[in-house]
């Protein structure tokens, strides 16, 4: 390469693009190194659909208001308190100014999607979804002169003391090196590297499905951690949900989700129930079922519903397995038929008065004398035909990452690395210790992407 850019951004998703655009607007010459080919550019952002946003009054597509404390409380509930309050509040407070920034950089929003009305106040939905957001940002970046290299796999980020001196990457069989003033890492977690997941989780992880991009293999993350860059998070923590067991190994995205658990019983390989299916409304519980299923034999669960519940949830991409009797359903799903019959019988006997059944509210229609109980929406499974779905753990992204400060800057030992910043999923563990709040990943990516871009440009401009 004839001249080195001011800034190299590693990664090509939302956080990387927000960083690149911000830096380019500050006058820096920016190169994006995106590991994926153009068709798969954008990392996990391709599959996202909304942005959780604080707002003091109606804002864009968002109704009413959503204040900092409520937002923070929602976050604390799902993470069980394992949250860096300082950085979380920074992300929450900055989210409000992000929404107009996103619009002025090409992102378009739409009213909350049908079937997601519970999010109309808190989450702004992208018109066309995350890939359209990614497309808009690539268009904007191009206009600002940002150079994008696709299929550009970073192999090594060379550190010299407390600064990055070189970024090595390959395109096909060709090796390249760049020596920019500033480097921003926004290349996600390591979830697509099954071996790494298996080292952290044990062999069970080989049965996990990866909901997003197959390109987030944590190569840059591992390279930096090996060199002593400060890490954060537990390698077993991740955003994981229970998805349709027939989903592809990678990249199944939103359509593989199943919303039927609250109206079902969920059994394991041995046709035994293992958790309260009706603990809370699904948007507040979907993120724990990934780990619940992961803890079962063969890391698989089976949802059983009957005819009266079939139309109570959003359709998913694969049709349910259907049978006229429970035994036939068990045969088709590879479950022990007698055992399934017994589990259903026991469940049905524990069901009581179902007249208060209400599919969209906590209705208190519960079982009695059953372990584990089902505390809402407990209706006996009696009406043929019966339907089944298999469930597997679907990992969205891992939380082990780079520790950053309020400036999105990375550190080594106790000192900041003078020219290395991180944004997005690769540093989300700095904020999220466990659990997940819908739309918060895009908030972290946008807020810290913009901070990283600004800081990296200021550093580059000063040198």
């Amino acid at each position: 390469m004839a001249t080195d850019p001011d800034i190299v951004v590693i990664g090509g998703g939302n956080a990387a693009l927000c960083a690149a655009i911000t830096a380019a607007e500050a006058g820096a010459k920016v190169v994006i190194l995106e590991a994926a080919p153009k068709a798969y550019r954008g990392g996990n952002s391709r599959h996202t659909r909304n942005f959780r946003c604080m707002h003091s009054g109606p804002l864009g597509p968002l109704v009413e208001s959503y204040g900092e404390d409520e937002y923070f409380d929602d976050l604390m509930k799902v993470t069980g308190g394992k949250t860096d309050e300082d950085l979380a509040r920074l992300a929450i407070r900055s989210s409000e100014e992000c929404l107009p920034w996103m619009e002025s950089h090409g992102v378009r929003f739409q009213p909350s999607l049908s079937g997601t009305l519970s999010l109309a106040r808190t989450n702004a939905f992208f018109l066309g979804g995350g890939k359209s957001l990614v497309n808009a940002y690539y268009r904007t970046a191009k206009k600002l002169g940002v150079v994008v290299h696709y299929d550009a796999k970073v192999t090594h980020v060379a550190l010299d003391g407390d600064r990055v001196c070189r970024v090595d990457y390959s395109t096909g069989d060709t090796q390249h090196s760049l020596s920019p003033q500033s480097v921003i890492v926004a290349s996600g977690g390591f979830q697509a590297d099954t071996d790494w997941l298996a080292r952290a989780w044990g062999p069970a992880a080989r049965n996990f499905l990866i909901r997003g991009t197959p390109y987030n293999r944590g190569v840059v993350l591992a390279d930096l951690l090996d060199q002593g860059v400060q890490q954060v998070g537990d390698p077993t923590q991740c955003h994981a949900v229970a998805i349709d067991g027939r989903a592809p190994k990678f990249d199944g995205g939103i359509v593989t989700r199943l919303d039927c658990v609250p109206f079902s019983i969920v059994v394991n390989r041995d046709a035994e129930r293992f958790y309260d299916e009706g603990e809370d409304v699904w948007p507040k519980r979907y993120a724990i079922w990934g780990r619940l299923v992961a803890a079962q034999p063969d890391q698989v669960g089976h949802v059983i519903i009957d005819a009266k519940s079939l139309n109570l949830f959003m359709p998913s991409v694969f049709p349910p397995i259907k049978a006229d009797t429970l035994e036939e359903l068990a045969e088709k799903m590879g479950l022990p038929p007698a055992r399934l019959r017994a589990t259903v019988k026991e469940f049905n006997r524990a069901c009581g008065d179902t007249s208060g059944f209400h599919p969209t509210e906590l209705d208190g229609v519960a079982t009695s004398g059953l372990t584990p109980p089902k505390t809402n929406w407990a209706r006996p499974i009696t009406q043929a035909p019966f339907y089944g779905y298999s469930l597997r753990t679907g990992v969205t992204f891992t939380y082990l990452g780079l520790k950053v400060d309020r400036n999105a800057q990375c550190s080594i030992g106790d000192r900041p690395i003078s020219n290395l910043w991180a944004a997005g999923e690769t540093m989300a563990g700095s904020i999220l210790g466990q659990g997940y709040l819908a739309g918060f990943g895009m908030t972290i990516g946008t807020v810290f992407g913009r901070i990283a871009g600004k800081e990296a440009a200021a550093h580059a401009n000063a040198h």
Partner: protein, 358 residues
């Protein structure tokens, strides 16, 4: 009516994936209609296909397009069903295959039409008459063009009745029809939901180019049609015969209308060369392009004929223009022109559904 089962099945497969995703809900009329259903009958798929304006917003926003294994290409899947539905509802059915051979049919009709009208103009030249009536008498023109105009409209009406049955339409209501005309008039479905336009000529870039050129075609065509209609009224009601001066209703409508139609069709043809053909109906590109060029010829020869008033060129320009018009009329039920009628029917049906009419 017999439709291609593979096209319907493929569109159904893709619609079921879209229904589980819903990210594109805000783009156009197709998605809210799609998201209302849990299962899709053949009629539902046919209706969705005719609601689709091929704006391609959903394709470029889609996380499941090839090389993803789900291999979504909803604009093409629906375009295939749409094209096939026009063939399936074509009346008389033996002309359905004309859809697949638009280029050939057009060339044939143009040559025949030109030959016929040129021969008539030479052989039955009126003894008196002004302007183009000096070449072809008014009576003869009416004898040729009345049936050439009315018969295609009749066949289209029969086709639309079949479509209405297929998509389960009930009693036609004025309010639904009015709503459909309003949507078509501003081409709201080519605005992209956010008002930035559609994706067509430059991948995922939104622009109004296609919508504006298409509006030029629509309104240019309507002005030309109004010009002819006003001429008919002047002739029969007021006894005022052509040729009309420049400051007359037929000319004031026809000249700007013709110019708009020229610009619009040229623009659409140009955009079509830029757009990805893989997002349209398989094998229909040539026929669609031929149709746009035919419409361009109608307007261009019309303007040329006006410019040539009084010169000897009228002797061949008149038959040429009339041949393009004749070809256009006769092919209306069996060419891309049909889409306007089906689109209005689909929008009308969608309005009824939104009101809650099953």
């Amino acid at each position: 009516m017999q439709m291609h089962i593979d096209f319907i099945a493929e569109a159904r497969r893709q619609s079921e994936i879209c229904n589980a995703c819903r990210y594109c809900e805000g783009y156009c009329s197709v998605f809210p209609a799609l998201h209302r259903e849990r299962a899709f009958s053949d009629g539902d798929i046919t209706q969705l296909a005719n609601l689709c304006h091929n704006c391609r917003g959903c394709y470029y926003a889609c996380q499941y397009t090839a090389p993803h294994e789900f291999d979504l290409n909803l604009p093409q899947a629906l375009a295939n069903v749409r094209q096939d539905s026009w063939k399936a509802h074509a009346w008389p059915a033996r002309f359905a295959h004309v859809f697949d051979r638009n280029g050939v049919a057009m060339t044939g009709l143009l040559v025949l039409g030109f030959g016929l009208i040129f021969a008539l103009a030479q052989g039955m030249r009126p003894a008196s008459g002004e302007g183009f009536y000096a070449y072809l008498s008014h009576g003869l023109m009416v004898a040729i063009f009345s049936p050439a105009f009315l018969l295609p409209l009749l066949t289209i009406a029969i086709s639309l009745r079949g479509y209405w049955t297929t998509v389960g339409g009930g009693r036609l209501r004025w309010t639904d029809l009015r709503g459909a005309f309003a949507l078509a008039g501003q081409m709201k479905n080519l605005k992209g939901g956010h008002g930035d336009g559609c994706n067509f000529e430059d991948e995922d870039r939104f622009s109004h180019a296609r919508r504006h050129f298409h509006q030029a075609v629509l309104y240019g065509f309507l002005m030309c049609f109004a010009a002819t209609s006003s001429g008919t009224v002047l002739h029969y009601v007021f006894g005022l015969e052509a040729p009309y001066s420049f400051v007359s209703i037929p000319k004031l409508l026809g000249v700007p209308g013709g110019i708009l139609l020229c610009i619009g069709t040229a623009g659409l043809a140009w955009l079509k060369t830029k757009a990805d053909p893989e997002l349209g109906a398989s094998g229909a590109w040539g026929g669609e392009m031929a149709f746009v060029l035919l419409l361009f010829s109608v307007s261009a020869t019309g303007l040329a004929l006006y410019a040539a008033t009084g010169s000897g060129a009228v002797s061949w320009l008149l038959p040429l223009h009339l041949a393009t018009v004749l070809t256009f009329f006769l092919l209306t039920p069996y060419s891309k022109m049909a889409h306007g009628f089906y689109r209005l029917a689909a929008l009308t049906r969608e309005n009824a559904k939104q009101r809650g009419d099953a």
